[in-house]
Structure formats: structure tokens, C-alpha cells
């Protein structure tokens, strides 16, 4: 049995390597191998962009599906996704605040991206603090989901309100950001993102065993020594850090958090959470590479691709469940 899992992962990793290489070769300019290595070459900068893009997609592929997987297991709801806590909406709200209110201030281009990321992180941090502070009050799990839904609705309403009063260029900038068109992160941003993803993974790994302990319900979980309050905090930290950091640097990436865990459950025994966690990571990386390739070839922003792909899959899922 263990061999089968190894074989599945092996094939996915082969897929990752192939798609990574294709990803590096897709784009307007034709690059050769030496463009990537030799800094004297004309196309070195473009090669750098492509590597950054591919690396960013690897990190997104690790973070977003893992965040969705954790929330689906914790809430025992296969439709939960990283936005269920409201993180993406509040991050978008703060980015909107920044874009709309900075329209009268001249900010040099190279700082624009950083400030967008900072606003997004700030927004996510604020919501994360609120969730952690109130986590004791969330006696019932479903209350967190309702809270997240209300926060998302409120954030969306405020953004709509703001959109009335801004000039069209800012509006377009904001909308492009929500499409995930802003996935040009530079190497230092990628490094920060990588560190944040590693921190998020650390909290993820800490929550797998308690999640397994919850399988038979709260009474058994208590007899196994699972601390519900500690698990709640670890889940909030893990899923928030993972989804907020990707949202900050690459814009919101939708649907992957719901759809990839679903595929993983089809590929391997859903009860074995460690295997599911690993599968989510490798399959997430592979799928994001493929989407990145499609996005480059079609010139559509990444969220358009994930939406076109994600919605039919979720519909099929819902129909199959009935």
C-alpha cells in the first residue's frame, strides 16, 4: 500500500518537473539554457522573471491547497476554502484602501508592489488577530464560518462603496489585482513568501495529528488528549498565514483551495490525513504550474483560469454528492 502512494507521488513529481521546464519556456521571448545562467546575456532578465513566476506558482501551489485542506478537515465541510475565514476578503479590502486612497499621492513604481503586499498582509494580520482573540468565544465551529462569511460580506460591501468614488485607473488597478494579474513577484518577495509558507507549513504539520484525533467526535477527542482550543488556534494560524501570504504577493487565487483537496481525496484514502497533506502539496504544485502555463499561453490572468476550471469541477462534486 505504501508503495502505491510512493508511485502516485513519483508520477506527480515527474509531472511537476516537466511542467516547470515547460513553464520556463513559455512566453513571448524564445529563451535558451544559457539565458538562465549567464548574467551577460540579453535575455537574462526575462529568464529571471520566468524563474520567479514558476517559483511563485510553486509556493502558491503549496500554500493555497494546504490551507483549503486544513479548513475542510477542521470544519468537516468539503466546500470550505481559504476564504471561509474571510482572510482573502479582508486582504482585498486593505489593498483596495491602499489603491484607492493613494491615487492622489505619487508613489514610485518599484514601491507600489511592496505597498500592495504590505496592505494585504496588514489586513490579514488584523483579521487573524480578531479571529484568535475571539477564538474562545467561538464555542461552536460553525460560528467561525458564519463570522467569516459576515466579514467577507462586509468587506465586499465597503469595497463596492469605495469603487463609486475612485477614478477609473485606480479601479482598474484594483480589479487587475483581484484577477491575480499581479503575479510578478521579485526574488526578495519570493524569499519572504517562502519563509511565510514554511512557517504556515510548520503550523499545518502540528495540526494533522489533532485533526485525526477529532475523527470520532469531541468526546473521543477529549479522551485522546486533543485540545480543541489549541487546535483551533493552530488551524487559524496555519490557514491564515498560508493564504494571506500568497494573497499579499500574488493577489487572491481562487478555487484551488477547494478543488485540489477534492482531487486528493479521490486519489488516496481520505482518512489518512498525513498522506492527504503531502498529496495536496505535490498536486497543488503541479496544478499551479499547469495553470501558469495556460495563463501565459492564453494571456488570461490566473484567476480566470482557476475560475473556468474550478466552477465546473465544484458543480460536478455537488452533483455527485447528491
Amino acid at each position: 500500500m505504501k508503495n502505491n502512494f510512493g508511485i502516485i507521488c513519483f508520477f506527480i513529481i515527474v509531472g511537476i518537473i516537466i511542467s516547470f521546464i515547460i513553464n520556463l519556456n513559455v512566453g513571448y521571448a524564445k529563451l535558451t539554457f544559457s539565458d538562465f545562467l549567464n548574467s551577460e546575456r540579453e535575455n537574462f532578465e526575462i529568464a529571471g522573471f520566468r524563474i520567479n513566476r514558476a517559483l511563485a506558482m510553486i509556493l502558491a501551489g503549496i500554500a493555497i491547497p494546504t490551507s483549503g485542506f486544513l479548513l475542510q478537515e477542521y470544519f468537516k465541510n468539503p466546500l470550505a476554502g481559504p476564504d471561509v475565514l474571510g482572510i482573502t476578503s479582508v486582504a482585498s479590502l486593505f489593498v483596495a484602501f491602499y489603491i484607492f486612497f493613494s491615487q492622489n499621492i505619487v508613489i514610485p513604481d518599484f514601491l507600489q508592489n511592496s505597498f500592495i503586499s504590505l496592505s494585504s498582509i496588514l489586513g490579514s494580520l488584523v483579521l487573524m488577530m480578531v479571529l484568535l482573540l475571539f477564538s474562545n468565544r467561538f464555542r461552536d465551529r460553525s460560528f467561525i464560518i458564519i463570522f467569516g462569511f459576515l466579514i467577507s460580506a462586509l468587506a465586499g460591501a465597503v469595497v463596492s462603496f469605495l469603487q463609486f468614488y475612485v477614478e477609473s485607473q485606480s479601479l482598474k488597478n484594483y480589479i487587475l489585482w483581484t484577477f491575480g494579474a499581479n503575479n510578478q513577484a521579485n526574488i526578495s518577495q519570493i524569499s519572504i513568501l517562502a519563509i511565510l509558507v514554511i512557517i504556515g507549513l510548520f503550523f499545518t504539520f502540528k495540526s494533522i495529528k489533532p485533526l485525526i484525533g477529532n475523527s470520532l467526535g469531541i468526546a473521543y477527542a477529549q479522551s485522546f488528549g486533543v485540545s480543541q482550543s489549541k487546535l483551533k488556534i493552530t488551524i487559524i494560524l496555519a490557514s491564515s498565514i498560508l493564504s494571506a501570504s500568497v494573497t499579499a504577493f500574488l493577489g487572491p487565487i481562487l478555487f484551488i483551495g477547494v478543488v485540489v483537496p477534492h482531487f486528493c481525496r479521490m486519489l488516496w484514502n481520505p482518512a489518512q490525513l498525513w498522506h492527504q497533506c503531502i498529496l495536496n502539496i505535490v498536486l497543488g504544485i503541479f496544478i499551479m504550474q499547469v495553470f501558469s502555463i495556460i495563463s501565459e499561453l492564453s494571456q488570461f490572468p490566473i484567476n480566470i483560469i482557476t475560475t473556468f476550471f474550478g466552477i465546473p469541477v465544484i458543480l460536478l462534486m455537488l452533483m455527485k454528492k447528491k
Binding site: 475523527s215 470520532l216 479522551s223 484514502n269 489518512q272
Partner: protein, 314 residues
């Protein structure tokens, strides 16, 4: 020194449900816990598990106070089988029994070879081999209960508590589970504490009885406890007046529990051991037989119809 010692303990929530408990149990013994619904059986079990704080006194497990043990240490001494559990959609029987090893691994990534063999042994011992790779949702009630007991066995704790393990089972499965419990105690030197309403059957498999009654715990060797408390043996007849109307047969969602709580609300006394007949223009009700023989909603409806039409339980 006994394995389990309860010293001057009161259990309950804001008010004590059972007070001044002083009793003990040893390894290799089977103890039946009995008492009416709501008297505190599950509260006592949770107090022993350390999940409910004690109002008074102390409980010692293998000479250690449960106030000083963390949940993992308690779990290494006590394994529990609850009467109700969330049945996970995707677990196979092996996955469920393997959960008995949960406390033994820091990350629970993968079981080692010895533990895997032990789980296979438990599956064979419980005659679950043909179901080993099936999902637990596909099991019959009896086999599912065996699987949960298998999980408790896999935990390797010397003390196993079972909260109403035979309540949802038919006669054959009840006997099977009760004899399994007795075998576990005698062959593997485990201490078993289990609660049951069907005390007439359960007492045949028990060495001791703990009887929760009137806020106290009466304990002793099973035969003595039964003989000393003759009201257990003689059936009680609860007489209703002619004006008593049970809930209508076609009332939506009529369930055993609703009927029971309706009766309990209207009649404050002990409702076990009652027989319903219409005699001398009065209703008399036996609830024990009523529950044991109704396995579905339609059977409940049919029996109630009989009660009202003929005046006797059928």
C-alpha cells in the same frame, strides 16, 4: 491497593448528582454500572476519565490521582467506548481500530510493524477479518460495536470503560458483546466497567454492581446487591388514569425518546420495569419490554396502536 479507588468523591455539575462515593475495583473484575436515565452514569464515567472536575474527594488510578494526570496519561490507563460516536465517512475497520494506537505516537504518521500485527490479531480475535478493509459505515450495529471495542483493546490500557455498549443491539449481539467483555477481563486481566439498562442479562456477566440510586452509589458483589434490593426484582406497576392520552400515533417525528420524556414529565417516578395493561379501567405501563422489542419507528407506532386499542402491549 486496588487499581481504581474512589475516595469520598462527589460528582456532578453545579449541584452534586452522586455524593460520598467510596469504592474500589481491581484488575480482572467486571463491574456493571446501573441506574435510571439521568441519574449520573455518564457523569460518573466522565469524572473517572478526568473530563468532568470532581466536586469533592479523589479518584486514584494505579495509585495516581486523576487530578494530577494529563489526558495522555489517563488514556494510557483507561480506554473508553462511548455509546454514541461520530462515524467518520471514510474510515475502514482497520483505520478505526488503529486509532487505539493514537496516544502512543507523537505524530501518528505510520504504525510500526508490531502495532500493525497487533491490530490484525485484534481483528481476528473479534471475528472481523472479512470486514477489515470495509468502510465502518457499512457495518451492522453489532460489528460496529465490536470495532469500537477493538479500538479500545488496541489502546492497551488495563482499564476499559464502556458506556451502554449493548443498548442498540439485538439479543444475540448483546450476548456476544457481554461475553466478549467478560473474556477480555478474565483472559487479559483487564478491569472492565460498563453501564447497561438490561441489568437482568448484564448481571450474569458481572462480578460487581455499582448501582446509582437516590444520589448515592451502592456497590457490592452482583448477587448480593440484587438480593438486598428487592425492588429490582419485583416489577412495578404504574397506574394511569383513564384520562391519560399518549401522543397521537400519527404525530410527526414521534420517537421513543419523545414518548419516554413525555411519560417522565407526567409521572415523576421511576419508569423502569413497567407493564402497560388496561385493567380495572386503568392503564398500566411496562416500558422495559417496550424498548427492548421496538427496533424501528414503524414498530413503535404499531406497538402504541396496540396499547391504545387492545390495552395490552404486544
Amino acid at each position: 491497593m486496588s487499581f481504581l479507588e474512589i475516595q469520598n468523591t462527589s460528582i456532578g455539575y453545579s449541584e452534586p448528582l452522586i455524593s460520598d462515593i467510596n469504592t474500589s475495583l481491581n484488575l480482572g473484575e467486571v463491574c456493571l454500572l446501573m441506574g435510571n436515565n439521568g441519574i449520573g452514569k455518564t457523569t460518573l464515567i466522565k469524572s473517572i476519565l478526568g473530563q468532568n472536575p470532581l466536586l469533592n474527594g479523589d479518584i486514584l488510578i494505579n495509585n495516581k490521582s486523576i487530578r494530577k494526570l494529563n489526558p495522555n496519561e489517563i488514556a494510557s490507563h483507561i480506554a473508553i467506548v462511548f455509546s454514541k460516536a461520530e462515524i467518520p465517512d471514510n474510515f475502514t475497520v482497520i483505520d478505526l481500530i488503529a486509532l487505539g494506537k493514537y496516544i502512543h505516537y507523537p505524530y501518528y504518521f505510520k504504525l510500526n510493524k508490531d502495532d500493525q500485527h497487533e491490530i490484525q490479531d485484534i481483528i481476528e480475535k473479534l471475528n472481523l477479518k472479512e470486514f477489515a478493509h470495509r468502510k465502518v459505515t457499512e457495518l451492522s450495529d453489532g460489528n460496529l460495536q465490536k470495532a469500537f471495542i477493538g479500538r479500545a483493546l488496541a489502546q492497551n490500557s488495563p482499564f476499559i470503560i464502556l458506556d451502554e455498549p449493548t443498548t442498540h443491539l439485538d439479543e444475540e449481539n448483546k450476548l456476544m458483546i457481554l461475553s466478549l467483555i467478560r473474556t477480555m477481563a478474565k483472559n487479559e486481566n483487564k478491569l472492565i466497567l460498563f453501564s447497561s439498562h438490561d441489568w437482568r442479562l448484564a448481571k450474569e456477566f458481572s462480578d460487581k454492581i455499582w448501582w446509582l440510586k437516590n444520589g448515592k452509589l451502592i456497590s457490592g458483589i452482583s448477587e448480593e446487591v440484587i438480593l438486598r434490593n428487592t425492588e429490582l426484582i419485583q416489577p412495578k406497576i404504574l397506574k394511569f388514569s383513564k384520562n391519560f392520552h399518549p401522543p397521537a400515533i400519527d404525530a410527526p417525528k414521534i420517537e421513543k425518546e419523545m414518548m419516554f420524556s413525555f411519560l417522565q414529565k407526567n409521572f415523576a417516578s421511576d419508569l423502569t420495569n413497567f407493564k402497560l395493561t388496561f385493567k380495572n379501567e386503568k392503564w398500566e405501563l411496562n416500558l422495559d419490554d417496550f424498548y427492548d422489542n421496538c427496533h424501528s419507528l414503524s414498530e413503535v407506532k404499531r406497538s402504541l396502536q396496540n396499547l391504545i386499542n387492545k390495552g395490552t402491549y404486544n
